[in-house]
């Protein structure tokens, strides 16, 4: 077992991917709890598609990928947040429109420019894609996300649980929503190259949803989903190395399996309670 792990980490690119993946998983899990609870799960999905479009355009114009993708995805995050808050427009339909359009733009720009990039690696992620810059950005991002959750934990709870009440008691809920959307956007941009456009939103949704099955306190949901996400990423990555499967997909499968187990635990628990 230890020999296997030691062998795996003897490759530099795996160490880099591991660092980035772990930090992205942690950020995604923490942000995911508030996003899922506020019914904003689809924002993550929409953002990753926009990110794909941006990356594809950057590649076909020969620009640096992150320098294009980051500003585009941040603008998209603000836009999607406004759409979801605005009850006049049907929020989830609007997100679906934006994400499929962005995906289409990406696919066309890749095929027209004939760039010799593997479309697969954008869509489903590639462990080889992470760079040193990614690792550094990821570390900074994780530091910001964790410190915001520690310092403003109570306010994040209040804004997630009841935005109107929080606003009435003087909390600047807009700032919290914007910061969360911004951090989600950054997490997705950095994470999508390992996990892939189509799979990154799983990192946001699964850990939160799994923890919500068994935890009864907000604090335990947050801690549980952070720990779960880390474990799932580690197991998924080892499995993908051992079995030679794509990393992103393997991590998602592990997450899905964990969700299934937690869901079963919940079902059994409620059954037992009912018979009591």
């Amino acid at each position: 077992m230890f020999d296997f792990i030691a062998e795996m980490f003897s490759y530099n690119f795996i160490v880099r991917a591991f660092i980035v993946g772990t930090l992205v998983s942690l950020c995604a899990a923490l942000l995911g709890v508030t996003l899922v609870l506020k019914r904003y799960s689809m924002i993550g999905d929409g953002l990753s598609h926009v990110g794909f479009g941006a990356l594809a355009i950057a590649a076909s114009l020969n620009l640096a990928p992150l320098e294009v993708a980051i500003p585009v995805i941040i603008i998209a995050a603000f836009l999607l947040l406004r759409l979801s808050e605005n009850s006049k427009i049907n929020g989830d339909a609007a997100i679906a429109i934006i994400s499929s359009t962005a995906l289409a733009v990406g696919v066309i720009s890749v095929s027209v420019s004939g760039v010799n990039t593997d479309l697969n690696s954008y869509l489903f992620g590639s462990i080889l894609a992470t760079t040193k810059v990614d690792a550094i950005m990821c570390a900074i991002l994780a530091l910001i996300v964790i410190s915001i959750f520690v310092l403003f934990y109570n306010n994040i709870f209040a804004v997630t649980f009841d935005e109107t009440f929080s606003r009435a008691t003087g909390l600047k809920t807009n700032i919290y929503n914007t910061v969360i959307a911004l951090l989600t956007a950054l997490t997705i941009v950095i994470g999508m190259r390992i996990m892939g456009t189509l799979l990154i939103s799983a990192l946001i949704i699964f850990p939160a949803l799994s923890s919500m099955r068994i935890c009864k306190k907000f604090k335990s949901v947050i801690l549980c989903s952070g720990v779960l996400s880390l474990c799932c990423f580690f197991v998924g990555m080892c499995a993908s190395y051992k079995l030679d499967t794509p990393t992103g997909a393997s991590v998602v499968i592990v997450n899905a399996a964990v969700f299934l187990v937690f869901w079963l635990v919940e079902v059994i628990r409620t059954r037992i309670k009912r018979t009591d």
């Binding site: 934990y153 209040a158 649980f161 009440f165 008691t169 306190k217």
Partner: protein
Amino acid sequence: MALITIKNASMGYEGKTVLSKLNLTVNEGDYICIVGENGSGKTTLMKCLLGLLQPTAGSISFGDGLKQREIGYLPQQTIIQQDFPASVSEVVLSGCLNKRCTMFYSKQQKEMAADNMKLTGIYDLGKKCFRELSGGQRQRVMLARALCATQKLLILDEPVTGLDPMATADMYALIKDLNKNGITIIMVSHDVNSAVSNATKILHLSRNNYFYGTAHQYLHSDVGKKFILSDCPCDDCRHRAQGGVHNV
């Protein structure tokens, strides 16, 4: 000085004016029910009182040491809260956030939360999960949270919606007790009959017009008579029914 003074205020949203030239004062110890048809501006008025909307004209001013952010607010429950994983004490404590935003709640804030949980009869539920409570228990939790935010004024948005008759009666009794202990109550309600029997003052909003007076005056006003289905049992009305002259 009154707790709240509304002077010549117009209110609305998205460019529409729903209330205009509203003048009223709320005094300490009042128990005011806001009634009226759908779309008459009950919610808009409440949002303006809470600072969630700004009046389009006129002013709302606060006196007697009341700050806008120190109003205890009991909103209607949202879909998000139906399956929210949070313990009762987490929810109640979040009412303290208007005082001081720190990383941890102080001992004082925790004591205040415990006192308010005892007051609303949910102290034993502190560790329970919010989503596992009954409708009546949930409303008590929300009320305890609102009490953590205020010492003076509660604004309640249809607090008995979806409660069974027992829980409704309990809720009204609890609100009345709080009012007797000196907390001013402003309640938006569709339940006009209970409003008249519990509240000291009624604000009836209708399109382009409003009535503001005591519950007794309301019962005998034109708008009140139209809105209330049951017969008024007071001496004046019985007298009138027998053909006498009504003089309120």
